[in-house]
C-alpha cells in the first residue's frame, strides 16, 4: 500500500475517530473524574472529595437495591426475550401460508418508539381503565383491579413484561436469519436416522446456531442493562426504588437532584459491569471465529 493510500485511509476514518473519541471515550474518563468531585444544587462549583462519594454510596442501602434490581431486570428480560424470540423464530421458520406477513408483523413492537411503548403499557396496566385488569377480571383470575405499577411487589414484573414485548422481535429476527443458515442436509440426515423433531432441534439445529445464540444473549444483556426510556416513563424507578436500575438512578441523582458526583459513582460502576460484559463478548466472538476457521 502506497504512502498516499495510507493517508487517504486515515482521512476517511478521521471524522468517526474524532467524534467517538471526543463524545464516548473522553466522557468516560470524565465520569471517573466527576465521581471524585462533589457538586450539589447549593454548591455548583466542583470540590475534590476523593473517594467520599464511593463510601457514601456503598453504605447506602439504595445501592444494594439498585444492584439487585438491575440483576433481576437484566436476567429476566434477557432470558424471556431470547427464549420467546427463539420459539417465535422456530415458528416463523416453518413452511406455511401467510408466513411472509407474520415475518413483517413481528418486528412492529421493536419499531414502535420506546416512549410510545412505555405510555401504551402504562395505560395497559392502569388499575381502572387498563386492558390487563379488564382481561384478568373477565377471565375470573382477579376480582378487582390491581395497580400493577404502583405496588412494590408487582412493578418490576410488569415493566419486565413490557420490555420483553418490545424486545423479543429483534431476537426473533436474528434467530430466524440464523436458522436459515442451518445445513438442511444434516437435518434430513438426522430425520432418516429416525431422530424426532425434538431430537433434531437439540442435536442438529440448536448446535448449528450456538454462536449466534451466545452473541445475541450477550448483546441483549448489554442493551438491557443500559435500558432507560421504558422504565423512566412507566415508573420513574419507583415505587420506593422498586424499579430503579443503574441508568434511572444516574439520571435521578444527576439531573433530578444535581448530585453529579454521586451519579458519576453509579456511572463508574456501570462502566465496570459493561467492560466485563464486552470482554466476554469478544472472548465468545473470537472463539466462534477460531471454530469457524477450524471446520
Amino acid at each position: 500500500m502506497s504512502h498516499r493510500e495510507r493517508w487517504m485511509a486515515w482521512i476517511f476514518v478521521a471524522p468517526a475517530l474524532l467524534l467517538v473519541g471526543a463524545l464516548m471515550y473522553y466522557p468516560m474518563i470524565g465520569t471517573i473524574i466527576e465521581s471524585l468531585y462533589s457538586t450539589s444544587f447549593i454548591n455548583p462549583v466542583p470540590k475534590f472529595q476523593g473517594l467520599a462519594a464511593y463510601y457514601k454510596i456503598l453504605a447506602d442501602p439504595i445501592f444494594g437495591q439498585v444492584v439487585w434490581n438491575s440483576l433481576i431486570w437484566t436476567v429476566f428480560v434477557v432470558a424471556l426475550q431470547n427464549v420467546f424470540g427463539l420459539l417465535v423464530a422456530l415458528l416463523l421458520n416453518q413452511q406455511m401460508p401467510g408466513q411472509g406477513l407474520m415475518r413483517s408483523l413481528v418486528l412492529l413492537p421493536w419499531v414502535l418508539p420506546g416512549v410510545v411503548a412505555a405510555i401504551l403499557w402504562r395505560f395497559m396496566y392502569d388499575p381502572q381503565l387498563g386492558l390487563v385488569n379488564s382481561l384478568l377480571i373477565s377471565l375470573g383470575l382477579i376480582d378487582h383491579g390491581t395497580a400493577w405499577l404502583a405496588e412494590t411487589s408487582t412493578a418490576m414484573g410488569s415493566i419486565i413484561m413490557a420490555a420483553v414485548w418490545k424486545g423479543f422481535p429483534f431476537s426473533a429476527i436474528v434467530y430466524l436469519a440464523a436458522l436459515q443458515t442451518v445445513d438442511q442436509e444434516q437435518v434430513e440426515a438426522a430425520k432418516i436416522d429416525g431422530a424426532g423433531a425434538t431430537r433434531r432441534l437439540f442435536d442438529v439445529v440448536l448446535p448449528g446456531i450456538k454462536d449466534v445464540i451466545a452473541i445475541n444473549l450477550l448483546l441483549t444483556t448489554i442493551l438491557t442493562f443500559n435500558y432507560f426510556d421504558i422504565i423512566w416513563v412507566m415508573t420513574n424507578g419507583g415505587p420506593q426504588n422498586a424499579t430503579a436500575i443503574f441508568p434511572t438512578q444516574i439520571y435521578e441523582l444527576g439531573f433530578g437532584q444535581f448530585r453529579f458526583g454521586e451519579a458519576a459513582v453509579y456511572g463508574v460502576f456501570s462502566i465496570l459491569v459493561l467492560a466485563l460484559l464486552i470482554m466476554v463478548y469478544f472472548g465468545v466472538l473470537s472463539r466462534g471465529r477460531h471454530r469457524g476457521k477450524a471446520s
Partner: protein
C-alpha cells in the same frame, strides 16, 4: 407424508401464529381504538376493545402547536443525523474494509465497540461539555450526540456490505486513473445502495425514539423532540389517554411507514452482520 398428520400440523402452526399475532397486535389495536374514542365518553369498566362512536377529535386536540413544534424538531434532528451518520459511516467503513494498516484496524475496532457503551454512564460529562460549548438546548448538541451513538452500528452494518464487494472493480478504476475519492463516489457508493438503505432506516428508528439525550439537553418547549414532548403531556394535561394515544399513533406513524416500505432491505442489512458475526 401422511396427509392427516400434515393437516393437523398445519392447523397447530396456524393456531400458534394466531396467538403470536394477538400478542403483537392487541396492544397496537388498543392504542388505535382508545385514540378514536370520544374524549367526553367515560371509559367503560371493564375496558372495551372496540370504539363505539369513533371520532378524530383526539387527533385534532392532540395536534396542538407544541406537538407540531416537537414534530418539526424531531424531523430536523433525525434527518440531519441520518444524512451525517450514513455519509461518515460510508467513508469510515470503506477505509476499514480496504486497509491493511494495523493501527487503523485497532482504532476502528475501538470505535465499533462503543455501540455497547452505556449512554447513561457518560451523560453527565457530555452534558457539561455541551454546556461549556454553549450548545445546550440546540439542534447541534442533539445531532452531535446522535451521530456519535449511531456511527458505530452504521459502520458495522456498512462494513458487512462492503466486505462482499469484489476488489476487481476498484482495481479497474485505478488502472483507468481514478483516485480514491472518485472510486469511492462513483463505484463503491452506488454499489452499496441496499446497505445504505438498511443503515439509514436503522439510524432513523434509533434517532426518532431517542429519549435520554433529548431529555437532558433540551430545556425549553421550543427545542423538545417528540419522545420528550409527549412524555411531558402526561404531567401537563393530566392523564388524558385519548389524546395521549392519538399523539402516540402520530409519533409512530412515520417510522412504521418507513419500516414497512423498506423492510426487506432493512431486515437483510440488520441480520447480515449479526449472523456473520
Amino acid at each position: 407424508m401422511n396427509t392427516r398428520s400434515h393437516r393437523s400440523r398445519q392447523a397447530a402452526l396456524l393456531a400458534l401464529n394466531v396467538v403470536l399475532a394477538l400478542i403483537i397486535l392487541v396492544p397496537f389495536f388498543w392504542m388505535v381504538s382508545v385514540s378514536l374514542k370520544p374524549a367526553a365518553e367515560p371509559f367503560s369498566i371493564p375496558a372495551r376493545l372496540w370504539p363505539e362512536n369513533p371520532t378524530f377529535d383526539n387527533y385534532i386536540t392532540a395536534f396542538r402547536p407544541e406537538f407540531r413544534t416537537y414534530f418539526m424538531n424531531s424531523v430536523i434532528v433525525s434527518l440531519s443525523t441520518v444524512i451525517i451518520t450514513v455519509s461518515l459511516a460510508l467513508l469510515a467503513a470503506y477505509a476499514f474494509t480496504r486497509t491493511h494498516v494495523r493501527l487503523l484496524i485497532i482504532a476502528m475496532t475501538l470505535v465499533i465497540v462503543t455501540q455497547m457503551f452505556p449512554a447513561s454512564a457518560i451523560i453527565i460529562p457530555i452534558y457539561k461539555m455541551m454546556k461549556g460549548a454553549n450548545l445546550l438546548n440546540t439542534y447541534t448538541s442533539l445531532i452531535l450526540a446522535y451521530v456519535t451513538v449511531t456511527l458505530p452500528v452504521a459502520i458495522w452494518m456498512l462494513r458487512g456490505f462492503m466486505a462482499n464487494l469484489p476488489l476487481t472493480l476498484e482495481e479497474a478504476a485505478a488502472i483507468d486513473g481514478a483516485g480514491p475519492f472518485r472510486t469511492f463516489f462513483e463505484i463503491i457508493v452506488p454499489l452499496c445502495r441496499p446497505g445504505i438503505v438498511a443503515t439509514a432506516v436503522f439510524v432513523l428508528i434509533v434517532t426518532w425514539q431517542e429519549f435520554l439525550f433529548a431529555l437532558s439537553f433540551t430545556s425549553t418547549k421550543e427545542m423538545r423532540t417528540l419522545p420528550v414532548g409527549v412524555n411531558d403531556f402526561i404531567g401537563q394535561y393530566g392523564i388524558r389517554y385519548g389524546e395521549l394515544m392519538a399523539s402516540s399513533v402520530m409519533i409512530s406513524m412515520p417510522v412504521v411507514a418507513v419500516f414497512f416500505f423498506l423492510q426487506r432491505q432493512f431486515v437483510a442489512g440488520l441480520t447480515a452482520g449479526a449472523v456473520k458475526g
